[in-house]
């Protein structure tokens, strides 16, 4: 076993370099003075300044944040319900279908999700007049549909490994099921809900393909603006934007990681004492 470690370590190091090299190159060149991205012409933060004056980009970012927070909140509610149904109720009619419907969006190509939802929205508008037109609402509905699948997976695994004795004790002592859910179950699965919310938020914020299909005139999300600018070639402004996104995400993940770590430590020490 020991002898193989150098080989494995090399593979691991190569893998991490492969994963982080491109991101690092974006960050470095976002501080490049020159518009020619590959020629280093000195340190500058001017592209960050230009970013702040790009009204089209700022509007798109604001729309994306609105859609992403709506999506994440809806997806957490729906995903938690789906996870509860699948973990707590072992037998019910339609269980297999529900299981497939929460797994399929995880791998379903985005072009299919986007096109099929667009056709649905067009048909619905034709027959019942809702949703009226396409834009923020249709993008949110579409994003919620695939984001809730990710939330379901996260919450499902948390529920499956959860200690049920507290819930059972509360029920034995006469607490109502709804109260048990809100005072015991929910706090216990809170970290999973938070992770699910954050994942749904970033998935929605990042989506280009589905949003392009189900969006209408006047509703342009951030990835749509980035895509049309990227198609024209490399631009230092996009590098600056990428750097900001990477920093925000790393910060969020670091905070979430520390919170989870502390909670685990606390749980461990409580277990040791008990």
């Amino acid at each position: 076993m020991k002898r193989r470690f150098p080989v494995l370590m090399t593979a691991l190091m190569f893998g991490y370099a492969f994963l982080y090299g491109p991101i690092l190159s974006l960050i470095v060149y976002s501080f490049n003075e020159s518009r020619l991205v590959t020629v280093w012409a000195g340190f500058s933060t001017k592209w960050y300044g230009e970013l702040l004056h790009n009204q089209q980009l700022l509007d798109a970012a604001w729309l994306s944040v609105k859609v992403a927070s709506m999506t994440a909140s809806l997806a957490v509610v729906l995903g938690t319900l789906a996870a509860l149904a699948l973990v707590r109720f072992r037998r019910f009619r339609g269980r297999a279908t529900l299981q497939v419907m929460v797994t399929a969006p995880l791998v379903m190509p985005e072009v299919i999700i986007g096109l099929s939802l667009l056709l649905l929205f067009v048909a619905m508008q034709d027959s019942i007049g809702w949703p009226d037109g396409r834009g923020q609402l249709t993008i949110t509905l579409a994003h919620t549909t695939f984001a809730m699948a990710y939330v379901t997976v996260i919450v499902q695994s948390r529920l499956a490994h959860m200690d049920r004795s507290l819930e059972e004790a509360a029920l034995d002592l006469g607490a109502r099921p709804l109260k048990v859910f809100f005072t015991i179950t929910l706090p216990l699965i809170a970290p999973a809900l938070m992770a699910g919310w954050l994942l749904a938020f970033t998935l929605s914020l990042d989506d280009l393909v589905v949003a392009s299909f189900v969006s209408g005139p006047g509703a342009t999300t951030l990835p749509m603006v980035v895509y049309s600018s990227v198609r024209l070639g490399v631009s230092p402004e996009i590098n600056a934007l990428a750097t900001i996104i990477v920093l925000l995400v790393s910060l969020a993940v670091a905070i979430a990681g520390v919170l989870l770590y502390r909670q685990e430590k606390r749980a461990q020490s409580e277990q040791n004492q008990g």
């Binding site: 593979a11 190159s25 590959t38």
Partner: protein, 299 residues
Amino acid sequence: MKRVPLPRGRGLIIGVPWFWLGLFFLLPFLFVLKISLSEPVLAQPPYLDLIREVEDGLVSISLNFGNYLLLWEDPLYRGALFGSLKISAISTLFCLLLGYPMAYAIARAPSHWRLPLLMLIILPFWTSFLIRVYAWIGILKGNGLLNNFLLWTGLIDQPLEILHTPLAVYIGIVYSYLPFVVLPLYATLVRLDLTLLEAAADLGCRPWKQFLTITLPLSLPGVIAGGMLVFIPVMGEFVIPDLLGGPSTLMIGKLMWTEFFSNKDWPLASSLAAVLLVVLIIPFVALRHFEQRSEEDAA
């Protein structure tokens, strides 16, 4: 076992997500099928309804299989389907070849190292996919970072043409989908019973033979799950072939996008989607099969 909690809300807990996914995930596929059988017209929306009222009370139903015939006869569409299959299969293989040693190394690392190492695998997945693909344009293009570096080392004396070739598409896919193979592989490798390996070693089994006869077969569920998590979405990938590939990189997702957005041919785009969906059923069933098995193992 006692059934806790919310026995009364049972209908609601099951019904609400079921209704949502039924409406927004299952039902739309029927519309894809329906529109794929209709005729394109210059109108808004750009297709003829299958069921039309010709006169008072007289209804005509017309099904148009022309789109599917075209997909089969035109070498462009057939080429895109087989091109997607080839690119997905090869990039899945490379993801596994790179991901397996990484997952193995993490699973065998000291236990307090595992979580941070895994977090480092997942972290890029949380940053924008579009931007990470875009980063490769700056690296791979003619006067990009990679060429500049290779010219500087003297390994080459002319810039390599990588961007807008199939190679760039492979690099982009392996890069973007690597976390999807590492995670399930890690999950199976970390649960591997090490005493089996010890027993084999005690009986004189060489390390590479231990790997081939014990580790690899036992980690097969992770290999299949990870492989399918790459293969299925890559079949419909649009962003990577569009930004990194050239005109010769035919993929079905990119073609669907062109038919829909540039040619405004919704029926043809729908029939492409329907064909893709049918092709993906087999790998999806394989994925479900292995997921169910690991769920049962965990329970």
